[in-house]
Amino acid sequence: MLEDNPDDSAARPLVRFEAVSKRFGSIVAVERLSLDIFEREFFALLGPSGCGKTTLLRMLAWFEQPSQGRILLDGADISAVPPHRRPVNMMFQSYALFPHLTVEGNIAFGLKQDGMPKPEIAIRVCEMLALVKLDGFGARKPHQLSGGQRQRVALARALAKRPRVLLLDEPLSALDRKLREDTRFELMELQEKLGLTFIIVTHDQEEAMTLADRIGVMNGGQLVQVATPSEIYEQPNSRWVADFIGDVSLIEGRVVSSALGQTIIESAAGGRLIVTHPGDAAAGASVAVAVRPEKVRIEAMPSPARNENCFAGRVTEIGYLGGVSIYKVKLDNGLNMKAAVANSQRLTEPPIKAGDQVWLNFPPDAGVVLLR
């Protein structure tokens, strides 16, 4: 991982969206969105389909023009830069390889447009083929390649002009799962090796989490949260983000008191919660407490010392995922809650079965207070 500090306010952003809006007729795709992306960053735009993430990427590639606001690249408005001077290239979701050209022809296409001399083009094409591990495939046509190989050609073609920013639109979505996982690591290696800025659009949160230095979570044309993958997972800033990223149990309630970093919440369904919370939450505020299943302990006996963050219930369903098992528990207060237990030992007989009475509890630092 790069140890750049993207939040360093002294650093000048390489890409800056300034209150950018985009409307298609009456449909608002992107709404007054501002975002800074820094040099050498691997940035992921993550969100459900239709959230405007692809539109944002396409505006940066100048396939769409913002209805309002401006986009700065290295401090200059990109609308003022002619297309062939913009150091931005895009890798398309469909790869968009030219079917009538060979692999070499595809990779060389952009270089020829720049009027690079032929011997230099040949050298660059060779470099690119080596970079994506496709040496010897130069003379093939795209339809003679496998899906994974085509993806590499698309990547090589987009990188051939040595852009400063590489845009990737769902680059791995057409690959099967195993290949996708391998390719993820290759993409990360490539980004580090080349020292470029990568901006990826994806709806796959696992992809965004593994690849990106920072994630911008989008919904309804707006950025909901911009943070590192671990912050987004551990400190989601809203119910929507908590629910969108990973598995979570949300417990609605009202703040009783908040002091010394500890917030006490009365659950709406009954029961008292204590959560470590760095900010203030005014007493009486209605909040949600988000708890990730893997941070919830499930026990067959009530723990005698506890009153808070402790709920009795009955197991309704057990999902066995190999490494972990997910227990769905119907609490006595009517809520549903999930607990994930690592299967660290090989058990032939599960200790807890569906229908069993159980007690769930979690430490104060496991929960997150969500005001929004």
Partner: protein, 309 residues
């Protein structure tokens, strides 16, 4: 046992497949191959004042000697006439020249039309394709006669040109090569537009975006991506027009002059005026052979494209 059943099953399926091919094969034999052979035979015969107007005639009932006489009576004399008389050679060359010129103009006119339709909003496209075809729901001859009206000395075209002050005196349009080419381009346009549209309509929009992303201006992306990818449509459209134009009779006969003939007209004259069936047949067979060449080239290209896939 299982293998035997499987192979029997396979033979049965093979027979099924053969039967499916048999119907078109029969059709082509009866309505194309046999007439072709008859024409070929006539082209090897000699004219005679008789009914039918050529010799020798094949009389199978008279037995072997008659067949021997028949074969001895066939000759390539008519083809020698085709090669030695300038009338035929110039007719052929003229037909090929007019067909080439018309096909090129059709491409230049048809491509923008097809491109425009392919880039129009999807729901409008069927309507626009219909619009290209709509004039062809009226009779072909009526449309050509309408052109005679437009192109004649006191016709619409001269009226408009004089009214606009482009010319002072009426221009002679009718009975010129320009009129022939104009009539051909007008008549064959849909046959050029449709195959072009079919190949342009399939074009993936993101390919042009990729070209733009890699720094190609629009006209260059069009030239480097759109045109090569529509090559099958260009070839199909060009052949679909070139072949019938080369044998065209009605348009040059009605719009063209009488001094230089296209091969279709020469053929007509031989057949109906000179009553020389054998030479007319030789003209037809030679034309078929000439037009076979582009078809074979096209087939070859198609096979190569398929192998590429």
């Amino acid at each position: 046992m299982i293998l035997a059943t499987a192979s029997r099953e396979k033979t049965r399926r093979d027979w099924g497949r053969r039967l499916v091919i048999l119907i078109p094969a029969l059709w082509l034999t009866v309505f194309f191959l046999v007439p072709c052979l008859i024409v070929l035979k006539i082209s090897l015969s000699q004219t005679a004042i008789a009914q039918p107007p050529y010799l020798p005639l094949l009389d199978l009932a008279a037995g072997w000697p008659s067949i021997k006489d028949f074969i001895a009576g066939l000759s390539f004399d008519n083809y020698k006439i085709l090669g030695s008389d300038w009338l035929y050679l110039t007719s052929y060359l003229r037909s090929l020249a007019i067909a080439t010129l018309s096909t090129l103009i059709l491409l230049l006119v048809g491509y923008p039309v097809a491109y425009g339709i392919a880039r129009a909003p999807r729901r409008l496209q069927p309507l626009l394709v219909m619009a290209v075809f709509l004039p062809f729901l009226t009779a072909f001859l009526i449309r050509i006669y309408a052109w005679i009206n437009i192109l004649q000395r006191e016709g619409l075209l001269n009226d408009v040109l004089i009214a606009l002050g482009i010319v002072r005196e009426p221009v002679v349009w009718l009975a010129t090569d320009a009129a022939i080419v104009l009539g051909i381009v007008y008549s064959y346009l849909p046959f050029m537009v449709l195959p072009l549209y079919a190949s342009l309509e399939k074009m993936d929009e993101s390919l042009l975006e990729a070209a733009a992303d890699l720094g190609a201006p629009r006209w260059k992306a069009f030239w480097l991506i759109t045109v090569p990818l529509s090559a099958p449509g260009i070839v199909a459209g060009a052949l679909l027009c070139f072949i019938p134009i080369a044998g065209e009779f009605v348009i040059p006969d009605l719009l063209g002059g009488s001094d230089a003939l296209m091969i279709g007209q020469t053929l007509w004259t031989e057949f109906f005026q000179n009553k020389d069936w054998p030479v007319a047949s030789a003209v037809a067979i030679a034309l078929l052979a000439i037009l076979l060449a582009p078809i074979l080239i096209y087939q070859h290209l198609q096979m190569r494209a398929l192998e590429d896939r």
